[in-house]
Symmetry: C2
Subunit: 239 residues, 2 copies
Amino acid sequence: MIEAHLAKIRKRDVISPEEEAAIRGAVSEIREIPADKVLIRAGQDLDNSTMLLDGWMARAKDLRTGERQITELHVPGDFVDLHSFTLKRLEHDILSLTPCTVGIVPHERLRKITEDYPHLTRVYWFMTNLDAAIHRERAVSLGRRSALSRTAHLFCEMLVRLDIIGQARSDGYEFPLTQQELSECHGLTAVHMNRTLQRLRQLGLIRLEDRQLTILDLPALTAVAEFNPSYLYLEQKSR
Amino acid sequence: MIEAHLAKIRKRDVISPEEEAAIRGAVSEIREIPADKVLIRAGQDLDNSTMLLDGWMARAKDLRTGERQITELHVPGDFVDLHSFTLKRLEHDILSLTPCTVGIVPHERLRKITEDYPHLTRVYWFMTNLDAAIHRERAVSLGRRSALSRTAHLFCEMLVRLDIIGQARSDGYEFPLTQQELSECHGLTAVHMNRTLQRLRQLGLIRLEDRQLTILDLPALTAVAEFNPSYLYLEQKSR
DNA sequence: CGCGGTGTTGAGACCTGTCAAGACGTGTGG
DNA sequence: CCACACGTCTTGACAGGTCTCAACACCGCG
């Protein structure tokens, strides 16, 4: 399922057959990960990166109090820790939310790409900058949007991101997070997360049951979220 | 004052004389910017990046309500919109908080660097990943830390960042933001920002008057903030 | 001298958190 | 097959943090 990864790239740029071959050749190994496993711990020295091929993962930072902030969600096609290539270690954990399939990409092969494929290097640099753009939008949510708006916003974002890789229905998608995990994305308590979801249901915007999210009124959801996808850089340009 | 930029890099990696020359050669022009000016607007097509040489700048996103979220603060030595090199446009504004001096770096010259200097490319890729790490820590602040802790955290972070470029005293630094701007960093109202600062003063942790921040009790401030600088990647490593 | 930006204070409202308890479904061991 | 533990979702009552609205002091500047 490296196709999801290629689809994500092709939404933003054109890559040559040689570049595609270089990407495919960068994966040294495929691995299966069970759900709810911390794959990478903050502080660990790293010499490979992880391409998510199937399932959902997350980046999370722990506080002393035991609370946790999920800083990003990952779906198939995402290079979950591409940034570890230059950072050499991460300051957050990487964990699986569902059973996952991942491709291991040794940093040495990424380094080779930076030596031999300047354009592909820029494409991957772009990808980490896209992650950062998503971070910034999350900061807006956490800082300025209400619990309701914040939640609506995430649902809108994931619709776009899943659509790119062909994993969205026209009216929704599979959303595997528990309310506890969702609350950790949004800086809320699980109790308030529950009440916020009920409010979204009450307003007729969504249905969420058995891990299936159905969006009943996308325009209204978009409006509540003040969602504008420009931060996802959906245009194909030479990077 | 490109020395600040070099100091910031040298804190994280070693660069060769040729690389330093390439960096210096990348700046095509020096410009003065007055305070409180929006230098770059969201959505604009960009073909150069901006190296901050003197003064403070910020990245900010506006909401329809007129509210604003500042997603990052920039001090001398920061490449404020290096990410525009691969993004081609930004989804946020870049604005000056004080009068600033900036160096203009045409994207064409950055592109040349990616063709000719793979290591330097990785260094700059690292720098944008460092920005993203700061974003993530900000998400933790916005999502999980109290107003008090959040504020303390920013003061701790800026102490480290300013110290790297030689702009911190042992007991503080010049902090030019108004309380309004500070509140926009922290997702608070200006009124509550004011009360939070008073509380920090009351606790004997800081003094803040005439744009001068004095840290009276760094260990206590660090503790209140749960500040751990590991996300700033202060180690010198080959990237 | 008046004005706008900045910092400060008070009172009350509202959003979100805390604590506690219970319902429900699933898996597991006796 | 049942009893039980556990995770997840839900609900209620109350507390607390932050927001809103309003007013005022101070200061630099035109």
